[in-house]
Homo-oligomer: 328 residues x 4
């Protein structure tokens, strides 16, 4: 299928490449001409505007928007709304807030344009491993684009099949290939959001565990309870037959194998919107998401030296006990 | 009553003074002779050793140990065990771990010496306001020392009486004067421990609230949702008719009135043992003490620039997404 | 001043009464005629519609809306927007979301109507103790209504003054009387929201502490580490000279004095919007509000027997260990 | 090698079997004669007492204790201490507290007996997949037993090797086969403890995520924000190319494939000691293990209908607001 790929960053460029490898012919566009030129050299058909994509794709045009969530995505979709015609499809493959999808889907449906939201996991590894995709939108449009999703997905590969699956009705056969039609507008990004919320929790669980292991050599501990543990070996051994083996652990093992001190990493940890949206969803549903929230807040905390809250604590302690906090 | 006061620091000195004001005659001792000399000038009878206290007090001697928990207290009590005779009383008024009390009480009981643990709240304000005391130990010994506790406690004062109290049997009339016999050995310090655990939780709740108020001027927010709030006034108004008025809020209001930025406070917040012992008790009882624990951990976090856990997160993020965390 | 009081529930009725006691003359309205009739018997001037209030108040009418947040408040304000004329004032004294205030203030300003948001603390005690008020809106309108706020506030009373206050410029003298002008539209409700967020944290801290004390008699513990503690006495003693004395503790002491088992309380704990809005604000500002969030989530958890999350845990445990969870 | 296997439960029996398959000859014992008889039928050499094991193994006897942590393990090791002779080895393969290992190792070393602690992960799957082992104890003894550990471990298998490993000195080649010598006495169980602590965190992260997904159909939500999501498909798709793929997710996918409602699981979730020991270690090291602790507490909470804390909250709410909590 022909498809316009808008945004050729870390994700968009590789998605175009993976589509090309399967015989699809993406027309590529980025507001940065160098990014376009790079893909042109690799044999992709370039476009120098959104309008030109539409011209090149003709009717039943498919636009895949792969831009940072928020303003860049919003603006592009607003423009596409004016460019596209009935029967065209606009895909948002980025990390948009699912309520924006719901709003946009209505807006575009008014003009007969289909809107599909695709939560895409896979990061820099997706080109080789394939992308895990969670898709929201109208059934026909999603079905129509199946060749695209099928090409991007990892496929059934060597991962063992889940016992008992497919014995019941109502399951999505695509799931075993690495993509699903999750539901109507927004459902794709919502499932991806919770995916990332879980990711934060998993990461923080490992991170705390390794911190506890590393800090076990602390001189605050009684001498015979101190251990100097080899984190590289521990991460490695846990990959093999333990209950906590995972891809995130594989990555941790690789990082520790390179440098057990992780000294290149400052420890200021960013968060994109999904962690927060997951917590918001939990609050709207009254689900006590204690771990996912604690993981999000640990990231906030990692980015400041001291909170004002810490200072308030010190001020109170001084107030009732005359305690003067001593710099460490 | 005559009593030996051992340890003349921030707490011990004032306890001796408050006893003296009520007509008791403490014999004072500290391993730092200057501390002793200071109280001697104020008219207290000094002692230059634990033995001398015993000599001056004679039979039925009462020793009040007011030292840092851990080694200083433990060593002193071990020595008193050899100095004291049957019928004497050893009081630990510091912040000992209640399981140490249980052990020591047995040890001293073997020699006929009574052991009493007193959890003492009041900080630097106790001299004027009186000390709130939670007492553990054998009933007779506690009752025998009532004049001491009565002198130290705030007394019924101007604090309104609790409705419905004293209509049932089994309540401790001393509670209204500011002290209770909580139970057998260790019960005093256990109740004090939980008191401090709660204190951590309360403090953190206020601290987070003021942080959220202060950060409401953040330029990350939409312009019409930014407020520059006067924290000094807010703390003050909450003292007056609001549901969250408290003594800790009074202290916060005073600190903010002095400097709304709290700039003299570094934000590295110490914790003594009680927060941790409270969490340990919760774990032994399988009580989900989520807030008290979160408050304790916020203090741990306040004392390090970055955790190793933060670095592990960054390493994973680099691993799957090629994300390089940018220093703020 | 004359003022229309709309909504005569637990809060609105008493606010009208407290105003009347100070010589103001509220016109009272509720869509439930019995509520109006009750106040009419007490000498209040009734109205049977919003229009009638306006008619009775004439120009420069002041409407105080005291209704449940959400639809009831929103609808009433929309109607007042059509009834009121330039120079009138609409006050929302309920627990509205502050972003709704920002929106409404603009809407009413377009018609020359002033909008004031008042966060009101005091509960069922406010009639006697006075109401603590946090006010948002345009300065002149707030100043103009000062007689109203002054009548409702507790006044300086017997609460000791905060040291160091009023030595600097820029502080609000009204704070000592129990009300402040916090800032522009929404600021009043925002401060009240954080107030309630803190309230959740404080309450949970006490609640966990008492749970740990009560559970100390658990037969899971070694016999000499079990205590049967008198919670009634402990709450009482903490009111007197301890660091954690507060009004919430006073209430807890009163409840425990009535029944130490608290057996009339089921333990399903509701939450209104403020806890959640506080957490949302924290997330927007990237403030790690760990305690306030944990407190909110504990309430969510209190209202369900089991979460689906719990079932997922059990399913995993069965999967890797063959563990069958045994009902307690 | 010959080895005495003590305790033939879910883990011990399979460990014996896996050893036998590799040509080792375990002598098997359990205080339940039926368990012994079952393995005898499978060709194992039985023993009817600890003494008989020793008799059958002769000098340099190796005892593998695979019993519930706490009293059963402790008692058995105390008896082995009297039975074993210098040069013998006692292995504790269960889930003991690492501080018990440190104590026992000293006790046995006094008699010339080696003590080795083995943290064993693998659950009911270990027989086929192999056991991931974290080993503590003296180097020579651990090296001497290498054939045993090598037989039990998964071996390098098909799991991809970690990039960059083995380029530095100091790494343990055994890690790639699924076992490590973590350090001196207790280090094996300590690493296993933290492993389980992490496991709790990971499990809770997934569990909360699935709860948020499932609750997205709640009628409390606006209609166009409700989704009925197929959890079975979502778990499946996340196994394929997503960042959060893991063995625990595989198990979850299998459970959901069987019954998306998980209705056979009550949701009362047990915890063994490791979660708590992990939190204790974190507290001793002042590591803010927010997620691991939240996960532990969620399990505590899952096992009670209401906490006393919940009732205290309700009592306070009634106190200040007259709120009566309504049963759901």
């Amino acid at each position: 299928m022909r498809i316009g790929m808008i945004g050729l960053g870390r994700m968009g460029g590789n998605i175009a490449r993976r589509l090309q490898r399967s015989g699809h012919q993406p027309v590529v566009f980025d507001r940065n001409p160098e990014a376009v030129a790079e893909l042109e050299l690799e044999g992709f058909e370039p476009a120098d505007s959104l309008e030109e994509i539409k011209k090149k794709l003709g009717t039943e045009a498919v636009f895949w928007v792969m831009l940072p969530a928020g303003e860049p995505t919003e603006k592009t979709i607003q423009i596409l709304r004016t460019i596209a015609e009935p029967g065209d499809v606009v895909i948002d493959g980025g990390n948009s807030f699912y309520k924006d999808d719901i709003r946009r889907a209505k807006l575009l449906a008014d003009k007969g344009i289909h809107y599909i939201d695709v939560g895409t996991s896979g990061g820099v590894w997706g080109l080789e491993r394939g992308y895990c995709m969670m898709i929201g939108g109208p059934k026909e449009a999603v079905d129509h684009l199946d060749p695209i999703f099928d090409a991007l997905a990892p496929g059934i590969g060597t991962i063992p099949r889940t016992p008992n699956r497919m014995e019941h009705e109502g399951e999505d056969a695509r799931a075993e290939k690495g993509y699903i039609h999750a539901g109507p507008a927004g459902a794709g990004h919502f499932v991806k959001t919770v995916h990332n919320g879980i990711e934060y929790g998993l990461m923080q669980a490992y991170a705390e565990g390794f911190d506890i292991l590393k800090s076990k050599q602390s001189s605050k501990l009684p001498e015979d309870e101190r251990y100097v543990l080899n984190l590289t070996d521990i991460a490695e051994v846990w990959r093999r037959g333990s209950v906590i083996s995972s891809w995130l652990l594989d990555l941790t093992a690789a990082a520790l194998a390179k440098d057990q001190m992780l000294s290149q990493f400052s420890g200021r940890v960013a968060d994109s919107g999904e962690g927060r949206w997951t917590v918001e969803a939990a609050m709207e549903e009254a689900v006590p998401a204690v771990v996912l929230t604690a993981a999000l807040f640990a990231r906030y905390r990692s980015r400041v030296e001291h909170t004002f809250a810490d200072q308030v604590l010190s001020a109170m302690r001084f107030g009732f006990g005359g305690h003067v906090e001593i710099p460490q």
